[in-house]
């Protein structure tokens, strides 16, 4: 027998995930239309309607991301099983695929962000205020460092893939440990719980008169300091530095994912799965 290679499965996973690329340009287009409306609407009502539209489309983006993560997680596991690949190897392959796809999509995000800035002549800062609220929190949860950028498309684009990766990764790890149903419930339940706690923390800050935005900026700066970067320069909108930050975060997330997944898979006891 010839030696087996898992590159094929990795290629397959990346190929499947690559379909997620289409969502960014779609989001970009919709976002652009809303921007157009917003910039031409000075009334308060118009702004509120636009805000709702943003919230809607961002929520949809989160939903799509979660679906990509969960369904692809299932599909990859099934395909890997059909091809005689163990769950552990399958999980590792998936995590790697998510990581690689995320990096590629970051490039796409940056290109779109650049386009966005170019088209809107730097007025995109306005949009960030409009898309505030729960979506903002989800975005931060999906991709923690994103909130240091003042470019919304960058945030949403990146959190989409990271949310997908996170769901996929969580499912990989949980499925290695628990029966499928439990893994699905936890994959959905844990983020909801995290969001609820996060919402609670934010609400608590607001109740005590703490400016949530300010607090979040502080956290962002703290993270950047840990990474040895000068947050102020990045907040200024330096795309190249942003790229570096994303890649570093991506590498850290991927490495952590692989380590966690390996541990989860190794400790999985046969008999409790399926």
């Amino acid at each position: 027998m010839k030696k087996r290679s898992y590159m094929g499965m990795l290629r397959y996973c990346i190929y499947q995930l690559s379909k997620a690329w289409i969502f960014l340009p779609i989001y970009f287009l919709v976002n652009q239309i809303i921007t157009y409306i917003v910039l031409r609407t000075n009334s308060e009502m118009g702004l509120e309607a636009s805000m709702l539209a943003f919230v809607g489309i961002d929520a949809l983006a989160v939903f799509v991301s979660a679906m990509i993560g969960l369904t692809k997680g299932f599909e990859f596991y099934n395909t890997a099983a059909a091809c005689g690949i163990s769950r552990k190897t399958s999980a590792l392959t998936q995590i790697t695929a998510y990581g690689i796809t995320a990096f590629v999509m970051m490039g796409e995000c940056m290109l779109l962000a650049w386009l966005y800035e170019l088209i809107n002549e730097g007025r995109s800062i306005l949009l960030i205020d409009l898309a505030y609220g729960p979506v903002w929190n989800i975005a931060m949860w999906g991709t923690m460092p994103a909130f240091i950028f003042n470019i919304q498309i960058f945030i949403v684009g990146s959190f989409m893939i990271w949310a997908a990766a996170l769901f996929g990764f969580m499912f990989c790890s949980l499925y290695s440990l628990f029966p499928r149903k439990v893994a699905v419930y936890l994959s959905i339940g844990l983020p909801v719980a995290v969001l609820a706690i996060w919402g609670g923390i934010c609400a608590n800050w607001e109740m005590h008169g703490i400016d949530t935005d300010q607090k979040l900026s502080e956290i962002g700066n703290a993270i950047m300091k840990i990474l040895g970067m000068r947050a102020n320069e990045i907040i200024g909108g330096n795309i190249f530095q942003g790229c570096v930050v994303f890649i570093i975060i991506g590498i850290i997330a991927s490495v952590l994912g692989i380590i966690f997944s390996r541990r989860a898979s190794v400790s999985a006891e046969p008999g409790i799965t399926i």
Partner: protein, 292 residues
């Protein structure tokens, strides 16, 4: 070498037992028929042997290596599922390619030849194929995979008589050119009996027989004739013969018997038991367990 050993395998789903204390060895390069009634545990056994399910207890080893979580052992096994496990939106050719990526001995040329023979359009997406062609796509994938052990779970589901015949011929041809272990789970026993070398019979979650088909066929016979003649023949039999099944139609009586013909058979028709008859006798709930 690719020998699969199963020892004391048990699988429970809640309170239900799908497999109970199954022990068997799948030899290298042999065509097995996995026989059992609906819900007997055939698919569960194949799912466990291909690493899709984990046993509640018991061991499965491939060439001495444990199967669970072992990529090397799992890579020696390919299973053609009754259900579609690949992404339904995948094109047939892509499904072949993905499988080929994971099975280095995959014969793509052979797969494409078979696809042409069956008239399967490889550019189509799997979910757009008819039930029969979905099965054909899975069959081709399994035959071309090049794995030393291939499991077929209900491989002729939805196939017409012509395609079933083609499949049986393809199995024999492939087996002759590239010997491997084939385990074919099927309800169409008579059709598959011509090329099945050994039969594994499961009844109500237990393995009741694993034997060469020729030996199984030689285990019994059918005696038929006038009811009175058959009855007098039966009364002449000693205690070693076991009546498996009795059918009376009008004045004619047909009895399936485990054992060898003995005594006066004049006026009676003696025929060897077919694999299907033997299977029916072995797995029927109302089969007699002793001499009538």
């Amino acid at each position: 070498m690719s020998e699969i050993k199963v020892q004391n395998l048990c699988k429970r789903f809640g309170k239900n037992s799908a497999l109970t204390d199954v022990s068997l060895t799948l030899r290298e390069n042999c065509i097995y028929g996995l026989l059992g009634r609906n819900g007997a545990g055939k698919s569960t056994l194949l799912n466990i042997l291909s690493g899709r399910m984990f046993p509640t207890s018991g061991d499965v080893t491939v060439d001495g290596e444990p199967l669970t979580g072992n990529d090397s052992a799992l890579g020696k096994i390919f299973m053609m599922d009754e259900q579609l496990v690949f992404i339904p939106g995948l094109k047939v050719k892509k499904m072949f390619e993905v499988t080929a990526d994971c099975y280095p001995d995959y014969d793509m040329e052979y797969a494409m030849k078979l696809a042409a023979d069956y008239g399967l359009d490889c550019k189509k997406r799997i979910h757009k194929l008819s039930t029969g062609y979905k099965t054909i796509a899975k069959i081709i994938n399994a035959l071309a995979c090049g794995a030393p052990v291939v499991f077929f779970d209900e491989p002729v589901l939805g196939l017409d008589a012509n395609h079933r015949d083609m499949f049986y011929r393809n199995v024999i041809e492939r087996y002759t050119e590239h010997p491997a272990t084939y385990v074919i789970s099927t309800h169409l026993i008579e059709e598959a009996s011509s090329f099945i070398e050994r039969a594994i019979v499961i009844k109500e979650s237990r393995l009741i027989m694993e034997e060469e088909t020729e030996v199984i066929r030689g285990m019994g016979y059918t005696v038929s004739g006038k009811a009175g003649d058959v009855d007098s023949y039966l009364s002449s039999l000693d205690g070693s013969s076991v009546i498996l099944r009795t059918e009376v139609i009008g004045g004619l009586k047909t009895v399936s018997i485990k054992g060898q013909p003995a005594g006066n058979t004049q006026g009676l028709e003696i025929t060897p038991l077919s694999l299907q008859n033997m299977f029916v006798c072995l797995t029927n709930d109302d089969s007699n367990s002793g001499k009538e």
